[in-house]
């Protein structure tokens, strides 16, 4: 994903309004951009609050800043700067983070961030985008980087390998079924897809809806989600994020006027105090193919309305 970020930015750098600010990460990947557009590349070190406000100042004068750093530092450290200096003033600063959820598993909780979607979604004017394959970043970034509103991108370390066709604001239906509506986001799409594929052999079929834009959600996307839930009355949401405030809540808000049972696969309301690997954390939180199958069995066995 980071390579695609560098590639897309290098290409878009021909737009003289694009300015890249990095929080002392990804230097090697962005070297080509730095060499080619020296006066529009700034390694701002580790002073995230002022970096974010400086991006606001650039945007006030008509530039398209891209601020890139590690999720907790570029989202949480400077949250009030994002609120006041980007969102309140509706300025088109693009935040591109890496290291969301537990991508930096072994580095511990200070370097984890499974609250980013909750924090970004709650801010008026903020657009929240979660690509999980290089082509998705390329498409979604090109669609939004110059649209004049603040935008948050989380770039996951792991990717899925499905040939998706994302469009800003929309969802994509990748499986058609009867029993459960599965809404997945991020690299967990792969596990969700594989799990549903296997369940089809047992004659359990699910709608699989893939979400790359958490905010705003288009009317078409809302209609697709609502129609599916009216049919299945059972919802499973899957995300590498807290069960509070992320994909689960996004879908629940869209469909708040219809009744359905809702299971949330994600990170419960707790800190993941273990270290280890990304895979171990997925395993511990049910974010695996078998974890998803188990959740679908459970929700199916319940008598929903």
């Amino acid at each position: 994903m980071r390579k695609q970020f560098a590639k897309t930015l290098l290409d878009l750098g021909k737009d003289e309004r694009l300015v890249l600010l990095i929080g002392d990460i990804s230097h090697y990947l962005l070297k080509d951009f730095e060499d080619k557009y020296k006066d529009r590349f700034y390694n701002m070190g580790v002073a995230e609050q002022a970096m974010m406000s400086i991006a606001s100042g650039l945007a006030i004068n008509g530039l398209f800043p891209v601020v890139h750093s590690i999720t907790p530092f570029v989202v949480e450290r400077c949250f009030e700067q994002i609120k006041d200096d980007l969102c309140y003033q509706n300025l088109g600063v693009n935040i591109v983070s890496v290291g969301g959820a537990f991508d930096y598993a072994a580095l511990g909780c200070t370097h984890h961030c499974y609250e980013d979607f909750a924090l970004m979604r709650v801010l008026p004017n903020m657009q929240v985008i979660y690509p999980a394959s290089p082509h998705e970043f390329d498409i979604l970034f090109r669609q939004t980087f110059a649209n004049g509103s603040p935008t948050y991108f989380r770039l996951p370390a792991k990717i899925h390998f499905l040939p998706t066709k994302p469009n800003f604001g929309d969802v994509e239906k990748l499986k058609e079924g009867k029993e459960v509506t599965v809404v997945a986001a991020g690299p967990q799409l792969q596990n969700a897809y594989d799990a549903i594929q296997e369940l089809e052999k047992e004659s359990i079929t699910c709608d699989l809806i893939y979400m790359t834009t958490l905010k705003p959600v288009s009317e078409a996307a809302k209609a697709a989600i609502t129609a599916s839930l009216k049919k299945t009355k059972r919802l499973l949401t899957i995300e590498e994020h807290s069960v509070i405030g992320g994909v689960g809540d996004t879908v629940a808000l869209i469909a708040s006027n219809i009744s359905f049972g809702h299971h949330r696969l994600g990170i419960k309301d707790k800190f993941l105090t273990n270290y280890g690997t990304y895979e171990e954390h997925c395993e511990a939180n049910g974010l695996t193919k078998s974890g998803i199958k188990k959740a679908i069995y459970e929700i199916k066995s319940e008598n929903n309305l």
């Binding site: 300015v19 529009r40 002073a47 609050q49 650039l58 200096d85």
Partner: protein, 257 residues
């Protein structure tokens, strides 16, 4: 000329009092300490210069000065802090008039630095002025910005610190000029209530060719012009005058300034 300025400044202070009296809102003493600074800036700024008020709680002073220079309709001052007014207790951005929304301390200064950087990138002429409160320099983001400004060679950035000692109960602002100098800025100290001194130090031909970011420490008095406020600046920090106080303060302003 100086007489004219002092007459104008007096009128601006009275406007601020009227606004805050009517609204039963606003920060009068914090506004009074920056009147000469804002007046001088708006009197002298070139068409390509821009201004950011980082200490946003002095919004009443900013609006009164904008109205004085005809950038805002005077009748709009009467709406200060009203529900549907454009003019709030802290300024909100509207293009070509208010550069940025401020209010939370430590934000406007880095935003101004970002604007100064954008001018460098776009090779635009003009300078970027920013008024920061000395209490505001408690915020870490002020020093992050001081550091960035040197690194980014923002010779077009001018920071005016309104040193009214309002933070004296908490953290006294000691040696702000030395701190900025240590961060690579050119610094000057000035009497912040002397508009001709301010004019010289901010707009003299020699300072326009600075090759460093420029910080002017303006020594001011919080509540300047009304003795009761000067004496008891903490009680008056976020208080508006009663009708008898209003009359008394206006009289004092007209007599003494």
């Amino acid at each position: 000329m100086e007489e004219e300025d002092s007459k104008n400044i007096k009128k601006i202070r009275i406007d601020i009092l009227d606004m805050c009296f009517k609204a039963k809102e606003g920060h009068v003493p914090s506004s009074f300490s920056v009147v000469e600074i804002l007046y001088t800036l708006y009197k002298k700024m070139a068409p390509n210069d821009v201004f950011f008020l980082s200490k946003g709680h002095a919004s009443a002073a900013l609006f009164a000065v904008l109205a004085h220079f005809g950038l805002l309709d005077r009748s709009e001052l009467k709406t200060y802090c009203a529900y549907d007014s454009r003019l709030g207790g802290h300024p909100h951005r509207f293009p070509n008039l208010i550069m940025s929304s401020t209010g939370s301390l430590g934000h406007g200064f880095p935003i101004a630095a970002g604007y100064a950087l954008s001018k460098k990138i776009k090779q635009e002429p003009g300078r970027v002025f920013c008024v920061v409160g000395d209490g505001e320099t408690n915020e870490g983001s002020i020093w992050e910005t001081a550091m960035y400004a040197e690194q980014l060679k923002l010779s077009n950035l001018v920071c005016v610190v309104d040193k009214n000692d309002s933070q004296i109960r908490a953290m006294t602002s000691i040696n702000i000029d030395k701190k900025f100098k240590e961060f690579g800025w050119k610094t000057q100290v000035v009497n912040g209530h002397n508009s001709s001194e301010l004019e010289k130090i901010l707009f003299d031909k020699s300072v326009e060719s600075n090759n460093q970011p420029y910080c002017v420490i303006a020594n001011t008095v919080k509540g300047k012009g009304v003795k009761e406020m000067e004496r008891d600046m903490f009680a008056w920090h976020h208080r508006s005058p009663t009708d008898t106080e209003l009359a008394r303060f206006k009289e004092e302003l007209l007599q003494t300034l």
